[in-house]
């Protein structure tokens, strides 16, 4: 059967990403373990992203609260504002928005960095010096992004809830403890755990796509730009696709 060129290209790329992911799982358990590079990547990917994630989380919580209030007043349920904002942030908005910010910042940075290393033969230089570049560059980055995104989501959620608390207090007066009691009384493990678990998958997808695009960058600066760009586009798209899968899974498991 003769496939249309775009379909063929899409299938080839999907196959190549699957192979790349397979190689990741083969390499990740094999010594030698690159602890120093992994810790460095955790610092670069996790700690260095915190200000951006924190700021966007704060604004998100504040804006969401301010925009929800009029509708809730219309329905006479203004008192439910903390509960609603809490569930929206923890279940969906926190993980997804943090992952999208993460894809923009980290996905592009990984794609551009590895792409640049590829076209300037630095990856080849690493390989000929007897260092496995896949382990040193890819495994460490993918692991760090998989483990750091959930941490950023937790911190982003906390900051976002604080932003929402300020939002609640713009036109009303609610004490800090009452606000948090209302938020947490309306949250169950079924809200928190799936949201936390899916952020590991988001982090993994963003890391593996950034590394794949960078590691397979074509020659030249245009190739590096393309790697960075497509890392963000495909990474962000994967976040939504995984979110869709996650909501179906939690629905089947009765956690919705």
């Amino acid at each position: 059967m003769r496939l249309p060129p775009n379909t063929k290209k899409f299938l080839e790329e999907a196959g190549a990403i699957a192979q790349f992911t397979g190689r990741f799982f083969r390499e990740v358990f094999r010594p030698r373990y690159e602890w120093a590079a992994f810790i460095h990547q955790c610092y670069m990917i996790g700690y260095k992203s915190l200000p951006l994630v924190g700021l966007t989380g704060f604004i998100m919580g504040l804006v969401l609260t301010m925009q929800l209030r009029p509708s809730l007043i219309d329905y006479g349920v203004e008192s439910e504002l903390p509960a609603m904002v809490g569930i929206a942030i923890i279940r969906e908005i926190g993980p997804v928005i943090t992952a999208l910010i993460f894809a923009g910042k980290i996905g592009s940075s990984i794609g551009a960095e590895l792409g640049s290393m590829k076209v300037t033969e630095q990856i080849d230089a690493m390989e000929v010096s007897g260092t496995n570049p896949f382990k040193y560059l890819v495994v460490t980055r993918v692991l760090a992004s998989t483990l750091m995104l959930p941490v950023l989501v937790l911190l982003g959620d906390a900051i976002s809830l604080y932003g929402a608390y300020l939002g609640v207090n713009i036109k009303a007066t609610t004490s800090f403890s009452l606000y948090y009691t209302q938020v947490f009384d309306n949250l169950s493990f079924g809200d928190v755990i799936p949201a936390f678990v899916k952020s590991f998958f988001f982090g993994f997808a963003i890391g593996i796509i950034g590394c794949f695009k960078g590691f397979n960058s074509s020659k030249g600066t245009e190739g590096v730009g393309h790697s960075a760009n497509s890392s963000v586009v495909l990474g962000s798209l994967m976040v939504f696709i995984l979110d869709l899968i996650a909501v179906q899974v939690t629905d089947i498991l009765g956690l919705n």
């Binding site: 960095e113 640049s116 290393m117 300037t120 033969e121 630095q122 080849d124 230089a125 690493m126 390989e127 000929v128 010096s129 007897g130 260092t131 496995n132």
Partner: protein
């Protein structure tokens, strides 16, 4: 003299482009061999096959008594430590300082040595290339010739037995080019390495090579000393030396 590298009937193609078509080569220990050929003739492919960055389609590559094809990844990595590779683009790690660039191979392969010994080796390598003062600079802060010297220092830091030079003087001015060629000779004498130099810079080849192989149409068309080939009246060889 014992051979450091033996290549027999090497074939390599990219689709319908047959680059190497039965190439043969023998590099003796302590010898400096130059492979001369037009751009796109397969010179870089040849040394990338030797170091295992590319897989040959057919033929045998034997390096320091080991067949490249039969080695697993760990064995290949182990062998690569004994081979230095100087890239045409230098391939310095641009996110690391000169010191970190030189420390990188040491910290990964000579883990038993102390920080002081690592520092001493880094300084020794930099002194060899006359650039001890650049130790804390970033590669972007160096000129083209300095980057080439640093790349050479990094190549030599693990004391390899064989060095593969990929276009070592391309993009350099004639004076720097001469300095790099002289440096290659000095370091070869000091560390008693064997080397293959891929180049079309005739001055560099004349200064550094004990023997020259001419790569034409995927085969070793001619093999001999520089002056021998230069004196040839063969119409294929002649244009290279005009």
């Amino acid at each position: 003299m014992e051979a450091a590298i033996i290549i027999q009937d090497l074939y390599k193609s990219f689709g319908s482009n047959h680059v190497l078509k039965g190439f043969n080569l023998e590099l003796k220990r302590g010898e400096n061999l130059a492979v001369l050929g037009k751009s796109g003739s397969g010179k870089s492919v040849l040394i990338k096959c030797i170091i295992g960055l590319m897989q040959q389609d057919e033929g045998e590559i034997n390096v320091l008594g080991q067949s490249i094809r039969s080695l697993n990844q760990d064995e290949l990595d182990h062998l690569r430590v004994k081979i230095g590779f100087l890239f045409q683009s230098n391939a310095l790690y641009d996110s690391m300082t000169v010191r970190e660039n030189l420390e990188f191979p040491l910290r990964r392969h000579w883990m038993e040595i102390s920080n002081k010994e690592t520092g001493d080796l880094v300084m020794e390598s930099l002194e060899n290339v006359g650039l001890a003062h650049t130790v804390d600079l970033m590669p972007a802060e160096l000129s083209g010739g300095m980057r080439k010297r640093i790349a050479l220092a990094r190549t030599l830091i693990l004391k390899p037995q064989i060095i593969l030079y990929d276009e070592p003087t391309t993009g350099l001015d004639p004076i720097t080019s001469k300095e790099i060629s002289e440096l290659m000779n000095e370091l070869q004498k000091k560390y008693n390495t064997s080397s293959i130099t891929i180049s079309h810079d005739m001055n560099c080849i004349q200064r550094t090579a004990d023997r020259v192989i001419l790569l034409v149409d995927g085969i070793a068309y001619a093999d001999g000393e520089f002056d021998q080939l230069k004196a040839s009246t063969d119409p294929v060889i002649l244009p290279y030396f005009e």
